[in-house]
Symmetry: C2
């Protein structure tokens, strides 16, 4: 089965970006996720471990199995958990579409920034749902690049962001998936699905977010697709670079930047049939 | 001094829409606004009283002066407060740009859904700031139509929304003002400005919001500019109506709708000079 392409690439700078992202957003995204003592949790698509350390620290008595399709990413993730002296995570190389686990193996499943990269997100959720015990929870976190707006507004910046959306689309991926979590999780058969938006609002009264999110997370991510967008003929260097300049402009004293992540939690059916 | 045009018009259906809006969003927008006993509060631009009843109920021992430029709107607002048996609100017809109050007359100022309709929002805030006692607070709430996105995504729906933005712009107004609250309030001289987004996230697990917000507030508002947009030659009937249909489509079982209001609170300078 063909492995999905990962549009952000696997370079060190990208790894640093993902770590920066997790450091800045950790409370916004994860403060309400904590698993009980003894529970078995599958983290599907752990990448370089950007979320793994937070997850495992917040649920010290749960046991995590974190999988990824990339051996290099798993190596980074393992080093990150070792540096944090975590002993409740085991790593395993595996493809979400060919997982080596028996049905109902896990109490909980956690999936963060993964579905956007898959051309068949519902199929992935169906597969992961099978691995859950009845009544277990599935937590899914995704961004949505179409949730981005800013001041000063800029057509060039919006087009540069659209380049990222288009590069993802050409790779069979979906950079606008955050807003779709509810219907996707319902379609996959999850029950009691609850989705909550996690909006990142940045103005100059929040200098950590100006630097950590507007510049080093979001704008850096858009900059990261420059070569792919040029190669695909979606844009030209002048237009793209003007958009990046305007994104940096939103990080100045009178600038404002808005982006929204979505977090969905659903339950595996308990399979209770009416009498 | 020329009175600003009010783009939404003054018809009864519009009044109902504003009342629906306040009823649906009241907690999201107002739950953290409460004024101490005895404080004097100016509500600038109360319109038909959509926020006035909530404000006065939540601060029963504060005294409100609610002003608006429209006598008809004030009549509606008076009837709304009388129906709610409120005795702590007095109404007065006045233009924000020519207010009959002495400097430092009020402990607090409240402005909701008003700045978007003014071509000189900073000037309005400067004038209102003068009426505040040192250390008093200014609360400003605005929407931002550029914060709107939905599933299924639709270019026609985005264009219909853009018609509303454009009709406002032609009237010298700004439908994208929510994101600008922080720099506007800082520019007007307010101190300790804090802006927080109030996102309305709607999926079919929230049927009250599907009906009360997606359909009856937002889509109804866009529908309300149909004639103005056609007269201004911004769109044609087929394109506009297709956009409205697609907005209604987002209210179906697998649809999602997102919109964000912004609430800013700042302080009147205490004027303390360094020794």
């Amino acid at each position: 089965m063909k492995t999905e392409a990962y549009v952000h690439g696997y370079h060190r700078r990208e790894n640093e970006r993902l770590q920066d992202q997790a450091g800045t957003l950790v409370d916004l995204l994860h403060s309400d996720t904590s698993y009980p003592s003894g529970s078995l949790v599958l983290e599907a698509g752990c990448g370089v471990g950007a979320q793994t350390v937070t997850l495992a620290q917040r649920s010290p008595d749960a046991r995590f199995t974190s999988i990824d399709v990339s051996a290099d990413s798993l190596g980074e993730a393992r080093r990150a958990t070792e540096a944090a002296a975590l002993t409740n995570v085991q790593f395993q190389r595996a493809d979400i579409f060919a997982l080596p686990f028996a049905p109902e193996s896990f109490d909980h499943v956690f999936v963060c920034f993964v579905l956007e990269h898959l051309s068949r997100p519902v199929e992935a959720l169906v597969i992961l749902n099978r691995l859950l015990k009845p009544g277990g929870t599935m937590t899914v976190i995704e961004g949505d690049h179409g949730s981005t707006y800013f001041h000063p507004d800029s057509g060039a910046a919006r087009i540069a962001i659209q380049c990222q959306v288009e590069v993802q689309r050409l790779a069979g991926c979906n950079a606008l998936i955050g807003r779709q979590l509810y219907p996707l999780m319902v379609e996959a058969g999850l029950e009691a699905v609850h989705v909550s938006p996690r909006m990142v609002y940045v103005d100059s009264s929040r200098p950590d977010l100006v630097d950590g999110f507007t510049r080093k997370t979001f704008t850096a991510m858009i900059e990261g697709v420059r070569e792919s967008a040029l190669e695909a003929g979606i844009t030209d260097p002048e237009a793209f670079d003007a958009g990046i300049r305007d994104l940096h402009r939103t990080a100045e004293a009178d600038g404002v930047f808005c982006y929204t992540f979505f977090k969905g939690v659903g339950e595996k059916s308990r399979g209770v049939k009416p009498a």
